[in-house]
């Protein structure tokens, strides 16, 4: 006969048991590789440069903080980190503004238009990231569609440089992040009880004040999430700076690639990757602390 107490114990931990497969997957394919990488970031740099020297990518068995020391001692890396943060913030800001505007239009649209707009927003996700970025070049490049149109109409004499600058990098990032942010904001907007806006109108609020006093404050949590998504994505930006930017616009993520794949310095690449991760995790943590306080206050 099964022991009743044992059964009760199992029942109490049922949630844990059910989540075991996920935990196992997470340990095997995320935490273990991550820890291995962290170990590599603490290994010595093999020295030398370039391919074909028949050397290791890091010196196994060594323990050192040299890679981190180099990162925080070298203005090149610090500059890079600063620019990456800047790009993250700019991307977050731009993405949030554009997605809010789009989500608000979707929220206000009639049913048919709503579906059409949602489709357009999600469309970029149906294609490959690289295809999307090269598509950018096809349209906005020096020999691209837009420039040819401008030249043909005589509006400009010389092709306009529209890519390989900060603007194109941010635009590229926005296209990549937008769908998630729009969906998050649109979902929260649609969850607002329409009677609240009706009530505000009935009490004398015109369209702008309804938005300012009711709609916007109630959708702020979504704005926060969208901003966070934009920031995480922007700080980790790789494809857009690499394909639509130039070396001055390269980020920490591009640097990880350069160290690892070009300079074959895995130890330094791993260290840069961990600094990048620390920045993201730290800021997410700060954001979540900030985001929680008012909510608790409002409910207490």
């Amino acid at each position: 006969m099964p022991d009743a107490a044992a059964l009760a114990r199992v029942a109490r931990h049922r949630g844990l048991l059910l989540s075991l497969p996920v935990i196992a997957f997470f340990l095997a394919f995320f935490l273990f590789p991550l820890l291995s990488l962290f170990r590599v970031s603490l290994a010595a740099n093999p020295g030398g440069t370039g391919y074909g020297e028949g050397r290791a990518f890091y010196v196994p068995g060594t323990w050192t903080l040299d890679n981190y020391a180099r990162f925080f001692g070298d203005p090149y890396f610090l500059q890079l980190a600063l620019f990456t943060l800047e790009l993250g913030l700019l991307t977050a800001l731009a993405t949030t503004l554009v997605s809010y505007a789009l989500a608000y239009q979707i929220y206000r649209a009639r049913p048919l238009m709503k579906s059409a707009l949602l489709m357009i927003v999600i469309l970029p996700k149906f294609t490959n990231v690289l295809v999307l970025m090269y598509g950018f070049l096809v349209v906005f490049g020096a020999n691209g569609l837009l420039n040819r149109l401008l030249l043909a109409t005589g509006l400009v004499r010389e092709p306009v440089q529209m890519v390989y600058n900060l603007f194109s990098v941010i635009l590229g990032e926005i296209v990549l992040i937008l769908p998630y942010c729009v969906l998050v904001i649109a979902a929260v907007l649609h969850a607002i009880d329409p009677a609240l806006e009706d009530a505000a109108r009935g009490l004398g609020a015109g369209p702008f004040r309804v938005f300012w006093e009711v709609t916007l404050p109630l959708s702020l949590p979504a704005v926060g999430v969208a901003g966070l998504l934009g920031f995480i994505w922007g700080v980790g930006a790789f494809v857009a700076p690499y394909l639509l930017g130039k070396p001055e616009l390269y980020t920490l993520a591009v640097e990880v690639d350069r160290q690892t794949n070009w300079r074959l310095n895995w130890a330094m690449g791993a260290a840069v990757a961990f600094v990048l991760m620390a920045i993201i995790v730290g800021l997410v943590f700060v954001f979540m602390r900030l985001g929680r306080e008012p909510a608790v206050e409002a409910r207490a």
């Binding site: 009677a195 009935g202 009490l203 609020a205 006093e213 109630l218």
Partner: protein
């Protein structure tokens, strides 16, 4: 004196559906009118047209003598209470109540004073700092009312304001709501599907079905002198007997009911023999005994089919010989047993107890 609200031939269509189909009524200053009817009868759409939330397809809406058809919601002088109360969850009770004043640019100090006054009116003094999420249903209801009244609107619109409260609270809030409305003296349109609520609270009731008003009258009028079979059955319980006028003699109509004996009823409105009519008799206006006294009119013999004991009274369902079912309510003044299921009984009523619905 001009009416506070005038609705003239209001029509509202949504695509192929006609939600409101030619509704007209006036609300006098300080009067409370209930729009009563089943769901989908157009009562809420009518209310939303008065508030400006819907644009009428046809017809005129006047508030305080001014046609408001083209005036947007936020410039109409209204206060509205929603079924869900629609309190702003991110604002305190004080900011909720003071919202209309803020929109009208009233200075902060005066706003604070009037918010306190308004909360006093709904018996929630000192609740300014709380959030709607911290209030009970009844308290939210009061806050919603205070918020709708603070700017002294010329019109108060209530959309099923008591529907979300439990039964006990609903009954006490009815009286309280009515008292506050009378104290403030605001002209009010009140939408409800609850006939008891409409009878208790309103000065006049508009009974609606399918986008039209069947009858507009005082609670007593719609109860005792229903204009149509729909009103008779929707307000309270009734016995509705359908038949054909056989003869009209001495102010009385003799109505032939299939399978039963003819029924005598006052011949108002006037009607000619051969016309299809309905006769309504309220359950409490029918007499019930083992045998009908000599000279009684409209006597029906039947068998008690079902007894509902209601404490102060009992209600009997009686099947007549011809198959027609009657509902009879009798007060239980003492502990006499009344009748049991299976008893053979006689029921009767005087001709003036019934009502002819032509």
């Amino acid at each position: 004196m001009t009416s506070a609200i005038r609705v003239v031939d209001l029509v509202k269509r949504f695509g192929a559906i006609t939600a409101v189909d030619g509704v007209s009524f006036d609300v006098a200053k300080g009067e409370l009118i209930a729009l009563l009817g089943p769901s989908g009868c157009g009562k809420t759409t009518t209310l939303r047209c008065i508030g400006g939330y819907e644009t009428p397809t046809a017809g005129i809406i006047e508030i305080a003598g001014q046609v408001v058809n083209d005036i947007p919601v936020h410039r109409r002088d209204i206060g509205m209470v929603f079924q869900s109360y629609a309190l702003f969850p991110h604002k305190t009770v004080g900011d909720n109540v003071g919202f209309a004043l803020k929109m009208r640019g009233v200075p902060k100090a005066e706003r604070r004073r009037r918010v306190a006054e308004s909360l006093e009116l709904v018996e929630l003094p000192g609740f300014e700092a709380r959030y709607p999420g911290q209030l009970s249903g009844g308290q939210r209801q009061r806050v919603a009312l205070a918020r709708a009244l603070i700017h002294r609107p010329s019109v108060l619109l209530l959309d099923e304001p008591l529907a979300n409260l439990d039964r006990k609270l609903r009954q006490s809030m009815r009286v309280e709501l009515k008292l506050i409305q009378e104290k403030v003296g605001v002209s009010t349109v009140f939408v409800t599907h609850d006939q008891e609520e409409a009878l208790v609270m309103s000065d006049r009731v508009a009974v609606m079905e399918d986008g039209r008003i069947h009858q507009l009258g005082t609670p007593s009028e719609v109860y005792h002198r229903p204009a149509t079979p729909f009103v008779a059955t929707f307000i309270g319980e009734t016995n509705l007997l359908e038949g054909e006028v056989a003869a009209v003699e001495g102010g009385l109509a003799r109505v032939r009911i299939a399978g039963e004996r003819d029924i005598l009823v006052g011949a108002t409105p006037p009607c000619a023999p051969g016309r299809r009519v309905a006769v309504t008799v309220r359950p409490e206006r029918i007499e019930l005994a083992r045998e009908a006294p000599a000279g009684a009119r409209n006597v029906v013999i039947g068998t008690v089919e079902f007894v509902t004991y209601l404490g102060a009274s009992a209600s009997y369902r009686v099947v007549a010989a011809g198959g027609q079912r009657f509902l009879v309510t009798q007060p239980l003044a003492d502990d006499r047993a009344g009748f049991a299921e299976g008893d053979t009984v006689a029921l009767w009523w005087a001709a003036d107890r019934g009502l002819l619905l032509a």
